[in-house]
Amino acid sequence: MVLVRHMPAGLDNTSDDPSARQALIVGNNTYESVTDKVCGAVEDPRIDKRWLAMFVVALGVLATFFGLIVYLISTGVGVWGNNNPVAWGWPIVNFVFWVGIAHAGTLISAILFLLRQDWRTSINRFAEAMTIFAVVCAGTFPGIHVGRIWVAYWLFPIPNQMSMWPNFRSPLLWDVFAVSTYASCSLVFWYMGMVPDLATLRDRAKHPLRRFAYGVLSLGWRHNARAWHRYESAYGMLAGLCTPLVLSVHTIVSFDFAVAQLPGWHTTIFPPYFVAGAIFSGFAMVITVAVPARAMYGMKDIITLRHLENMNKVILATGMMVGYAYSMEFFIAWYGGNRYEQFAFINRATGPYWWAYWIMVSCNVISPQIFWFKKARTSIPIMMVVAIFVNVGMWFERFVITVTSLSRDFLPSSWDYFRPTWVDMGMLVGSFGLFFTLFLLFLRFLPMIAIAEVKTVMPRPAKASGAPEPAETAASLN
């Protein structure tokens, strides 16, 4: 006899009772109600006041960002606090920070897909969108950091009258290839996942212009099974290709540091440590954007508490990996017997940037420990606070790695203290403006949940004629 236990009604599906499989989508949703709900957020002709307020703020910050970039290019990189020896400064800190955030998207999409983690379907569109926008922010910084931005195309092997080619033996060149491959593949992966949902939006569109726009974007997708067959094959392969890609990209970003000879950078632990950190910060960012968005658009029954709890578990696990890496760096500095490395690490924790180091440790290692408690994992305010702490901590991690190590190189006479200028700070804030502008546009114009994928993890209706319509409307649940 099969014991069938149904979860209690309501939105809490976080029970770990092993005798019943918890539903991933709650609240009596049907195929139709999921379509209506996700498409409705895009189709609603009224503009949400909260959305508008956030968009105006984000757009303002973005305008500041562009203004600062123009100021930078027209004046020169001297407007930053970068000095000798800290030539990388905040721009590269910001680059690594954003590129790290960008990794959760493809991780959720690709790795969790390969691992058959069905809960990914509710959050993968979010996370992939976040990936694309974070990569845009990340790409901006090295782009404007090259100094003479008008010759930035020299980064790529383009035949030219100087007969010059890039140096393929340099980690910085690897980085160009890794980040641009990651950006373009993530875009393809995201777009491909969205094509069927765009077709749904097209089929529902009432205004001809809207139908035309979504019609072009959906490429004529018509949900036929023969196309789905090839689509699923392609999706699986893209997931399989993007999984090592995610790991390779942050590995190569870590090579920018690890291949250099500088004490504090020249360690073999960097690739796995960077990847764990990237996943850590990326999941924190997904929480940061998903929690407000699910409340605003009434998606609490699709992005359920269980999804958030799962992400918090990943944050707890990767947070401890990062903590392990921090301690292992110190251990190896002592165990390796390299006096310069020992100095570099003692200087990190007790030198002029001690405050940055301890902010990093408290935010990244200590704050996620609260997720050992289920109450904290399922509490929206606590998870928001921890997620923001993690974002801050991970920015400081990159600051500590980049600035502390560079400011104390081999030659004591060249040691210097790095101070950011107002332009540095403005650009860090400004990059958030770019990120949130793109993200808010995404929420308004594109399906924020992978509609077709969510339906595959919903229980199949037994009989259509008997299937009840949702008893209560979705909006009333939130």
Partner: protein, 442 residues
């Protein structure tokens, strides 16, 4: 949701579909397909098996999401997509390796910290990235291609129930192009397989052509878009005397006048076309005032070279002069001023061993009578500004030191031309005790 026959004019039909329908009714229509609607995935799977077994080929199921197991129910063969992607991945690998070998090891080999020009470890990251890049793009575009997408129009899009087929309903579409297609037979099959609605789908017999002007404008635009490319190609393969267009000037070209160049604007203003403006008469620029011209230039008030040292000549000055002379002058003039320094010896050696095109003007012998007769001011002038092959040393030797060198030159002249009778006794004995070159032969 109606279980009966679905008719045009459902209430949720957007107005533009009504327009299309009105248009369709007036134009000639042909049967495109028969569409059966199903309520659940399981009913659809069951129906698919029946359509498959009936032997149809041009048919498809419409499902709002991929349904697992539908491939078997429909008899869909496994796609060749994975093999296409594998091919793309391998060509990505090859491209990356060839690119790196060609650029860094063949076309422009350059040494970077002694690393080999081409070695797998350093070239793996880019190779991996290009492999993934090629595979992902091919995976996506080949998927579209195999699905015959993009195809922005399909008669199905005008089906009033399409909105549901992409949301929560399922359909089987049997197209009229199938060799077994008979409308009644298909309708009967679909109805008996559990369809909640079966309906024919018509399409216009003739697709409306694009307006003629579209082709004209398109052709002009296509040709115009090739113009920049053609101009770039022409620029690459022809020569010109015009300066290359630099969009970004960097510091290669600066808007400035070079020294001695004419400047028409100034010429028009002050009747003096020199770009380097002469100072106003009777003015001295900052830092250019010279208090003592004899000391600075070796000239007296009349502009003749001074005959007396403008500095105090003492032992200290001579010692300084000897040291400076050894550093700056002796390489050519020799330590004794005999004009046979290292440079001269090397030049002569090259000339002996067949140095091509050697036209060596040997350095002056400083104790020649011609130079002994020169006023000290003129020797100072030579040290300052140079003479013949010799360059001026004003930039390297401070004024004080130049006078010290001149004083030391005078010492050398004195030493070279001293009569035997004036030599100190001990020096004379030392010199006389040495064998004179060539005397042994006498």
């Amino acid at each position: 949701m109606s279980n009966g026959r679905i008719t045009h004019g459902s209430s949720d039909e957007p107005s533009w579909i009504k327009d299309l329908t009105a248009h369709d009714e007036e134009s000639e229509q042909v049967l495109h397909a028969v569409v059966g609607e199903y309520a659940t995935p399981d009913e659809l799977l069951h129906a698919c098996e029946q359509v498959r077994d009936a032997g149809f080929r041009d048919w498809d199921a419409i499902t709002p999401f991929p349904i697992h197991g539908i491939e078997e129910s429909m008899g869909v063969k496994k796609t060749i997509l994975p093999w296409i992607v594998l091919g793309a991945a391998l060509s990505g690998t090859t491209t990356a390796l060839l690119l790196q070998w060609f650029t860094n090891a063949y076309d422009y080999p350059f040494v970077i910290s002694g690393k080999p020009f081409f070695s797998l470890p350093a070239n793996i990251p880019v190779t991996f990235e290009l492999t993934v890049l090629f595979a992902v793009f091919t995976g996506f575009f080949a998927m579209l291609g195999l699905n015959l997408l993009p195809a922005l129009y399909n008669p199905l899009f005008r089906h009033p129930r399409m909105k549901r087929f992409s949301s929560d309903r399922f359909a089987i579409v049997v197209e009229s192009g199938d060799s077994l297609f008979e409308r009644e037979r298909v309708e009967k099959l679909l109805r008996s397989s559990g369809a909640v609605g079966v309906e024919p789908l018509f399409r216009p017999a003739r697709r409306a052509g694009l307006p003629k002007t579209f082709y004209g404008v398109g052709l002009v635009a296509a040709v115009a878009s090739l113009l920049p490319l053609a101009m770039i190609a022409k620029a690459r393969f022809t020569t010109t005397e015009k300066t290359r267009i630099h969009i970004i000037q960097d510091m290669d070209m600066q808007p400035k006048f070079k020294a001695q160049a004419p400047n028409r604007l100034l010429g028009a203003l002050w009747n003096d076309p020199r770009a380097s403006i002469a100072p106003v008469d009777g003015t001295v620029a900052r830092g250019e005032y010279v208090e003592d011209e004899a000391f600075q230039y070796g000239l007296d008030d009349e502009g003749a070279f001074v005959k007396q040292f403008p500095v105090t000549v003492d032992e200290h000055l001579l010692a300084r002069g000897e040291e400076r002379f050894a550093i700056f002058c002796s390489v050519c003039h020799g330590l004794s001023g005999d004009g046979n320094g290292q440079v001269n010896q090397r030049a002569k050696a090259l000339a002996v061993s067949g140095g091509r095109g050697m036209a060596w003007a040997p350095p002056a012998k400083l104790f020649e009578q011609r130079i002994v007769d020169l006023p000290v001011g003129e020797i100072f002038n030579t040290v300052t500004n140079g003479k013949n092959n010799m360059k001026g040393y004003a930039a390297q030797i401070p004024v004080e030191d130049r006078w010290a060198i001149v004083a030391y030159v005078r010492v050398l002249q004195k030493a070279a031309n001293v009569p035997v009778g004036q030599l100190p006794q001990d020096v004379r004995q030392e010199l006389e005790s040495q064998p004179v070159e060539g005397e042994a032969n006498k």
